[in-house]
């Protein structure tokens, strides 16, 4: 068994043991099995990372056949190249941290074995997604993580809000998957294959092919790229299909950290990076990615700064950071996007798990208005949250600094209107990010305690099983940026990525980013510091300012606070009409037209005719005689008449 097979299938094995035999082995047993499987996988992933990145051992392993129909062939394959190896390392490391953390966080839950099983299932699906060598397996992983996310968001299935959020996540993702499925089919029709290598090799030859789509002649590659991107928009909660992500916070916090911050939501970024050979020849698609990413970064940040639920703030922050990654992709800075994906996975998982630690300490309180003044009681969590926030705000020498700056510089270096648009969106979002991050820190840890005495007396530092994973992640948030900078986006990036990312020479924005003016490099730091300063002014030194701002800009605040009313709009435009249309079709279509008008109508009509006809069968002889006589008379008169005429 090769090392990659072990990495991918250990989580599956752990899932099956914990899920099917959870009762037998008990919660402890399930935790032991899943955690050890994941830790082993993470260690192996590091070995694999060295093997692939340093020694360049890229390879494709076919585990088994899957679907084969004509030239539509897809196997269960593990594609190990630089791109997938980076993802594998991130996934397994974060996932093992979250697994261990969950042992402590979920210790009061009734169904711990099931929880651990689902986490492992998710990890398996995610690994299948990133190791796919064809579009169909990618789709499998894509929907697999979706269903794992559905199960975990709705883990507390007695809560109605959790169930609703779970369904919403699944359905909104399915809308994205609708695009992904069409993209898959477009690729198949264009290239007559769904294998990645064959597709990528044919892209150049197909760069001018037109494709008949819904009756319009469109550029084939652009169409394929945009449809695939639609899947990414759904999975990565970009503007338009983002509504599920904040609601997904109904799930337990480790889930939010693993799925809705570090791994699953970044699948869209991975998808676009994986299809870089295709996107490079679809400039319009890249522009769309760029603009949507920029808009999302700002949009999410505006909402994030008005929310009070600690997890929702971080969720909007995630969405905003994903926006960064996407506009990096849009300017062909795939390496920079992947770099930010990696650093973000560490510091955002750290922030989420830190928030979980706070929630744990505050007796399941999530509203920041009921927190405050607890930094002395949970100093470790406090320090770790600071590290995470500094990394998120892109303060120098923390992980986020390297990746975020690189993205902004690449956007600037793109020297197109779209790149400029994204750059300024990124700058605005950087300010807002710093602002809401410190707003969160201050509201949670500083000021006067706003919780009641009972809660406050319970506030305690989390157990070691929860703190150790946080420390591991904090290491990533501290050093991952500095350490991996040369490889991901620096001098040796060509060797680092090898063939897995393909960039047209004229699109090499990462290379150009090293030569941008000095102010471009410094601006993000200054706006970040400005944001932090603003947060201190507004929430620590002059706490009356926020209320006054809200009053002064009431309509804007209302818009931000209510998430730009997107949910309400979707409800009115899509959800309700679907139900109304459904019952209309049922009552009128099936009930009135087809049944009453058609089928039953026919049967009733024949019934009526039969009844009318049966009136003639009265059984009275004189009726029959009368009719007979009349008939004979009529016949006779007709004959006489005819004869008379002749």
């Amino acid at each position: 068994m090769s090392i990659e097979t072990a990495i991918v299938f250990l989580p599956l094995l752990a899932f099956m043991i914990a899920f099917l035999f959870g009762k037998t082995i008990g919660d402890r047993g399930a935790q032991l099995v899943t955690c050890s499987a994941l830790i082993v996988a993470a260690v192996l992933a590091c070995v694999l990372f060295v093997d692939v990145i340093r020694d360049g051992n890229t390879r494709v392993t076919e585990v088994a056949q899957w679907v084969s129909s004509g030239s539509f062939v897809a196997g269960w394959t593990l594609r190990i190249d630089q791109l997938s190896t980076v993802m594998i390392a991130v996934i397994t490391i974060v996932s093992s941290c979250v697994h261990v953390y969950s042992v402590g966080y979920m210790s009061h839950d009734k169904a711990q074995a099931r929880f651990m099983a689902y986490l492992s299932l998710f990890t398996f699906a995610m690994l299948m997604l990133v190791t796919a060598d064809n579009l169909l397996q990618l789709f499998f992983g894509w929907e697999g993580v979706g269903v794992a996310s559905y199960l975990l968001i709705g883990f507390w299935n007695y809560k109605d809000t959790a169930n609703k959020a779970a369904i919403k996540a699944f359905i909104v993702n399915r809308v994205g998957d609708f695009g992904l499925a069409l993209g898959l089919m477009t690729c198949y029709v264009l290239f007559d294959t769904i294998q990645f290598d064959s597709i990528f090799d044919q892209v150049f030859g197909q760069k001018d092919t037109m494709f008949d789509f819904l009756g319009y002649q469109v550029h084939g590659l652009t169409l394929a790229a945009l449809l695939l991107f639609m899947g990414a928009v759904g999975k990565s909660a970009q503007l338009g299909l983002h509504t599920w992500l904040p609601d997904a916070m109904e799930g337990p916090t480790p889930v939010s950290a693993l799925i809705h911050a570090a791994t699953m939501v970044t699948a869209g970024v991975f998808l676009v990076a994986r299809f870089s050979p295709l996107f490079e020849f679809a400039p319009f698609a890249l522009q769309v990615v760029c603009v949507l990413g920029g808009l999302t970064a700002v949009f999410a940040a505006t909402i994030g700064m008005t929310q009070f639920d600690i997890k929702r703030v971080i969720a909007y922050s995630t969405m905003s950071q994903l926006g960064y990654m996407f506009f990096a992709l849009g300017v062909s800075a795939y390496g920079a996007a992947m770099f930010h994906l990696m650093t973000h996975a560490f510091f955002k998982a750290l922030l989420f798990l830190g928030a979980g630690s706070v929630i744990h300490a505050m007796s399941d309180e999530q509203d920041m208005r009921n927190m405050g003044g607890i930094y002395k009681k949970i100093p470790v969590t406090y320090v770790l949250m600071w590290i995470g926030s500094l990394a998120l705000a892109g303060m120098p020498f923390f992980a986020g600094y390297y990746s975020k700056d690189m993205i902004l510089e690449a956007a600037y270096a793109d020297h197109t209107n779209f790149g400029m648009f994204a750059f300024w969106c990124g700058i605005i979002a950087a300010f807002l990010t710093a602002f809401y991050s410190w707003r969160l820190l201050i509201m949670t840890f500083h000021g006067k305690p706003r919780a009641d005495d009972k809660v406050m007396s319970h506030v305690h530092e989390s157990p070691a099983v929860m703190v150790v994973p946080l420390v591991v992640l904090a290491f990533g948030a501290l050093f991952a940026g500095f350490f991996f900078y040369p490889g991901f986006v620096g001098e040796i990036r060509a060797e680092f990525w090898g063939e897995s990312l393909r960039i047209l020479p004229e699109n090499d924005t990462v290379g150009a980013a090293h030569h941008v003016p000095q102010w471009v490099k410094l601006l993000p730091i200054f706006v970040g510091l400005g944001g932090i300063f603003m947060a201190y002014v507004c929430y620590l030194w002059k706490p009356s300012i926020p209320a006054r701002c809200v009053a002064a800009f009431a309509p804007i605040h209302k818009l931000f606070f209510n998430k730009w009313f997107v949910d309400e709009a979707y409800d009115k435009i899509f959800v309700r009409p679907a139900f109304v249309l459904g019952s209309f079709f049922f009552k009128k279509g099936d009930g009135v037209i087809i049944n009453a008008g058609g089928v039953d109508g026919l049967s009733n009509a024949s019934d009526t005719v039969a009844k009318v006809l049966s009136r003639f069968q009265t059984g009275y002889v004189f009726h029959y005689v009368f009719v007979m006589v009349m008939g004979v008379l009529a016949l006779l008169s007709w004959i006489v008449f005819r004869l008379g005429l002749n």
Binding site: S71, G144, N157, F170, F178, D201, D590, G598, V599
Partner: protein
Amino acid sequence: MTDFPLLSLMTFLPLIGAFFIMLIRGNDADVVQNAKNVGLFTSLFNLGIAFYMVALFRPDTAEFQFVETIRWLPSLNISYHMGVDGISMVFVVLSALLTPICILASWNSVHTRVREYIVAFLVLETFMIGTFCALDGVLFYIFFEAVLIPMYLIIGIWGGPRRVYAAFKFFLFTLLGSVLMLVGLLVLYREVGTTDIPALMEADIPYELQLWLWLAFFASFAVKMPMWPVHTWLPDAHVEAPTGGSVILAGVLLKMGGYGFLRFSLPMFPDASLYFAPMVFWLSVIAIIYTSLVALAQSDMKKMIAYSSVAHMGYVTLGIFTATTQGIEGGIFQMVSHGIVSAALFLCVGVVYDRLHTREINRYGGLVKNMPKYATVFMVFMLGSVGLPGTSGFVGEMLALVGIYQVDTLVAFLATTGVVLGASYMLLLYRKVVFGEQKNADAAAMKDMNKVEYLTLVPLAAMTIWLGVQPSIVMDRISPSVENLLRQVHNERPVAPAKVEPNIMDPKTGIFVPIMPTDNTPKELISDEPPIAEQAIEEQADELNDEMNNRDADSQVEDNGAAE
């Protein structure tokens, strides 16, 4: 061995079982128990024969196998002709699989006229298997029509309160279509001089006549499928039928329509099929969207699943009439998958119906608490119905959509919206029944699945996942027959959908250069690319992908060996 009439044995064995059940004498309890035992034993034995047949089946040919021919009405050139190819074989196995499950499902839930009930199911099995094995038009017609009788009785006698209405509706609807098929068959006989199906497939029927005959057969099969707008009998029939009846109705009877399209419409009237294909596409798309929306509005569990069946069958007709490899294989696989998944969903409804005697969705809720095993199994089928990759539902749906996308992107686009709608109603159903608060004390007090229910549902759940992960166990067996079918369809008019000719990138002019070309990369480009390009050409040239995969796998194995 080949002389042994295996198919006749499979067809008539249930009838023999039924005969013996009728002979059982004694007190009522004994009769009931013995009838059940004999019924189960017979159907299980038949399933064993079916597996034996699969083992003997040669998957490398499209010819009919296990063929039996007995002169029956020589003066009319009609014979007792049986045989299976890959397409019909999977349906024979499906029928043989679902009958014992139906009998088991009724083990504790049917209390009146049990003996007759079992007999009805055995007789039904005879007719179903006969339908799929018949290679003579008249024989097919007899079996095809005879299926109505036991089904009519099952709904009409063991059904719910409106069973008589439902039974009549079912009977008349399907009969109306079938009468037209009979007329069509007679015309066909007059034209070709035989009703032998293999002969008819090769016969050359004038275009004009094809159109009329196609419509006549279509009337029959479309009702059976059922296609929109002749689907309204299905919800009524399902709602009133007992659990076993619903299972067999959804699992096998609906597939007779699709099978008919594959056995008659496409090979015998290829030009007409292509002529009418757009109409079928649009009816299918309407079915998918319309019935999915209707399913969303249901408050009755069985009705919801019945409507979802219509939507799922929409993918089948869509796939079949694309006359592409993926479309037809997808359509067949979707039928197999639906046969398992929807049958199992009806069984799931049966489990809770037996306990609470209501199908009202809102009467349940929070079942995951008191019925965790049930919740798990139900989840598998729910996801199968949603078409999650890794379950059987995905493969068929995806292939059918791939098929239609090559022919008409607009239809494919609209049909793909069914993916979203399908998820909506199934998740909603699951949430309302299994998740949430326990609102009703009686629902909260229900016991988890008993052994019999376990026995019926767990194998189906395992199959749902197994077929989703390894669909080749079906695909490999149907693909030669599908290829043969495609040859028959496209023989006269090669109307293969316009495929964009795949171009291979010339490695020398390739514009893909890695970031900041270094010294070693161009070398790699030159050394790496030509073999890939050659491989790709080879693949497209002879489509022997399997061989390629094997070779890849072999070399991979070597690599690993070397690595270790």
